[in-house]
């Protein structure tokens, strides 16, 4: 169950490339794990390390202090590709808590929201403004659904209302779903009756 997330203020790390897919976020060869923790070391692995395992000194992800950069500012269509939840697990474990982009893939969005990692979609002008001021702290206010840069903004962003509530209150979604168990059982009974009912004449 994710910890509640209400507001987040941090410098942004700009990765302006479009279409950062989940194979970039965590390469498939690390998916043989049976754990969801500890994947931060594998985040953007092939961007950060050479084939022999040595760190690439020029890689920005090796140069920043992850505790100072909680927010990723990424190019269009972030998180596309495979449905691996290992992607938000790895980003979260590395230290990121949110990504801002001009569009974010569906399954990534769904996976991220379940792991206390906030996907925020903004228009191009807002994106450009944030990218031009990477060292200025940005605030993502989930309660108000706003992004603010210093005294600039606020810029509203959309988030599915239920997912927002879950993040704000730390709601356990599986627990919430289980409350529908009577309706699920009734649905199954009705389907069973339909299947065994005699053919209408």
């Amino acid at each position: 169950m994710p910890e509640p997330l209400k507001t987040l203020t941090s410098k942004v790390l700009v990765l302006s490339q479009a279409n950062i897919d989940t194979d970039q976020i965590i390469p498939a060869r690390f998916l043989t794990t049976t754990e969801s923790r500890g994947l931060g070391a594998k985040a953007f692995y092939d961007w950060r390390y050479e084939a022999d395992g040595s760190a690439k000194p020029e890689a920005v992800l090796n140069r920043i202090d992850p505790t100072e950069h909680r927010i990723l500012l990424a190019g269009d269509n972030f998180g596309c590709g495979s449905s691996r939840e290992h992607a938000p697990w790895a980003l979260h474990d590395y230290g990121f808590r949110a990504v801002i982009s001009t569009s974010i893939a569906d399954i990534f969005t769904s996976n991220a929201l379940k792991n206390g990692f906030l996907p925020v979609v903004v228009d191009q002008a807002t994106w450009d403004d944030l990218a031009a001021h990477p060292d200025q702290p940005v605030t993502i206010d989930l309660e108000a659904q706003e992004v603010r840069r210093g005294n600039h903004g606020p810029v509203a962003f959309a988030v599915e209302p239920f997912a927002r509530q879950c993040l704000l209150d730390g709601v356990d979604t599986l627990g919430w779903l289980q409350k529908s168990m009577p309706a699920i059982e009734a649905f199954e009974r009705a389907a069973q009756e339909r299947a065994t009912a005699p053919e209408p004449a």
Partner: protein, 472 residues
């Protein structure tokens, strides 16, 4: 009178357990849950930590495909797993299935295969169903008029525990591919042409219905290839209305009803087609007659064009980065650079007609020396059928390797991979940087194109080798 509804509406409506409201998503019932070793272990851990069981093991089916070696056990009887972790992951699924009473198409099963090849083959996938799997290519099953989509591991836990998902309904898009496809043009070429048109994120937020004469003309395997790649345009699912081909393909499969029950089911399936006048949130129409054999030149699946056409000028830094990675230059064609590896397989193109198409090109010819060609059937059933027809001999006599089923070089996590810098022509679905191995460069294409490229040693339009080929 009821509003005209789309295929998607009809399947959706049948599965609403709790309708969505402005504040809360709906609860949707899942008919079929497919499971593999990579995206499930954490989900089993999650439900067990809560003292929960798999609620409907009878609606849950598992297979081993991603981490599994495609070479047989050695003389010592040991399977050549790439790492101890890969082996442990396989054993974990075996143990989880045993504990939860879930059928597993394991190592000894004649049913084992890549999850999206196996499901339809066994008749587990049926029209009108909701099908999910912790895998983005679950859209494959939409070829049967099912609503099928990929989910994350948290959602795998949701389905294991409740047989339901918390969902909001996506928007609906219709992609109509009209006209008659030319000889040598396959479902893969249609898929690459559609994705090139929509763009990599163009389908985000949508469920796509594929319609039109060219789509209808595809066999079920071609339709699966097309639906399979819906995610490569960002779409959650792709669907095709069931027709007589769908019914004929499913008849007699193990999990499909038989006798009178089948006749009743078939009548119902045919009612699922989109009603005339139903409205879509977006529409795209493509002239199928104009589609040529396609291949990608970039590092996203939408970066595709007819084989032999020129690589377009880059429009962004991302485009420039993609071209630099691929080693291609704008204004040139991609048909001159030596190909190192050819891969035929995956849930996109690892079915019997795919192997036949490749064998038809290869028969009596040789893979160019220096090219490594790997053919990996999508399932044990495909392997049996292909061997019964002698396709494996065509491949091995041409100089290709014939393997046992698995995802293999599609995702490169089992030890089958393309070396850094090597250029591969692959029938899989993703050409991302490093997808087929660190530093690997991937061209996506059809099985016939892959085979033709293996012979020529460069990316090649397969119609060169097809006697009855007609050029436009």
């Amino acid at each position: 009178m009821q509003q005209p509804r789309t295929l998607f509406d009809k399947v959706w409506d049948r599965h609403v357990v709790v309708p969505e409201t402005a504040d809360t998503p709906g609860v949707i019932y899942i008919d079929l849950h497919l499971v593999h070793e990579v995206t499930s272990p954490q989900a089993f851990t999650e439900i067990e930590s809560r003292g929960l069981k798999t609620r409907r093991p009878d609606r849950t089916f598992a297979t081993l495909d991603h981490s599994t070696p495609t070479l047989p056990a050695g003389l010592n009887g040991l399977k050549p797993y790439v790492t101890p972790e890969a082996e442990a992951q396989v054993h974990r699924l075996e143990a989880n299935c045993a504990r939860h009473g879930i059928s597993l198409a394991g190592w000894d099963s004649d049913d084992r295969g890549v999850v999206h090849v196996m499901g339809p083959e066994l008749g587990l996938t049926q029209p009108g169903m909701t099908v999910v799997c912790g895998d983005s290519h679950t859209a494959t099953h939409g070829a049967f008029g099912a609503l099928a989509f990929g989910i994350g591991t948290s959602e795998v836990a949701h389905v294991l525990a409740t047989q339901c998902l918390i969902q909001r309904k996506s928007r609906a898009m219709r992609v109509t591919v009209d006209g008659v496809l030319s000889p040598g043009v396959s479902g893969k070429d249609v898929a690459l042409a559609v994705i090139a048109e929509l763009g990599f994120g163009g389908g985000t937020g949508f469920v796509i219905e594929y319609a039109g004469g060219a789509v209808r003309s595809l066999d079920m395997e071609g339709r699966m290839t097309l639906c399979n790649m819906s995610i490569e345009a960002g779409a959650r699912a792709g669907m095709i209305a069931p027709d007589e081909k769908t019914v004929a393909w499913l008849k007699g499969r193990r999990h499909v009803p038989s006798g009178e029950a089948f006749e009743r089911a078939a009548v119902d399936w045919l009612t699922l087609a989109t009603d005339p006048g139903a409205v879509f949130d977006a529409e795209l129409v493509i002239d199928g007659g104009a589609i040529r054999p396609m291949a990608t030149w970039g590092t996203t699946p939408d970066a595709g064009s007819p084989i032999g056409s020129r690589v377009p000028e880059p429009k962004s830094d991302s485009d420039r980065k993609a071209l630099a990675y691929m080693g291609f230059e704008a204004g040139q064609t991609t048909t001159t650079q030596a190909v190192d590896v050819v891969f035929i397989g995956s849930c996109t193109n690892g079915r019997l007609p795919d192997l036949r198409a490749a064998a038809d090109v290869l028969r009596g010819r040789k893979v160019k020396p220096g090219v490594r060609m790997l053919v990996v059937p999508g399932s044990e059933a495909v392997r049996r059928d292909a061997e019964a027809e002698g396709l494996h001999t065509v491949f091995t006599e041409a100089g290709a390797e014939w393997r046992i089923p698995g995802c293999s070089m599609c995702i490169a996590m089992n030890g089958d991979f393309v070396l850094p810098g090597q250029l591969a022509v692959s029938t899989s679905n993703r050409n991302f940087e490093g997808r087929q191995g660190k530093g690997a460069r991937t061209i996506l294409a059809s099985p016939a194109t892959a085979a033709a490229s293996a012979i020529a040693g460069v990316l090649t339009d397969p119609r060169v080798y097809l006697t009855e080929a007609v050029d436009a």
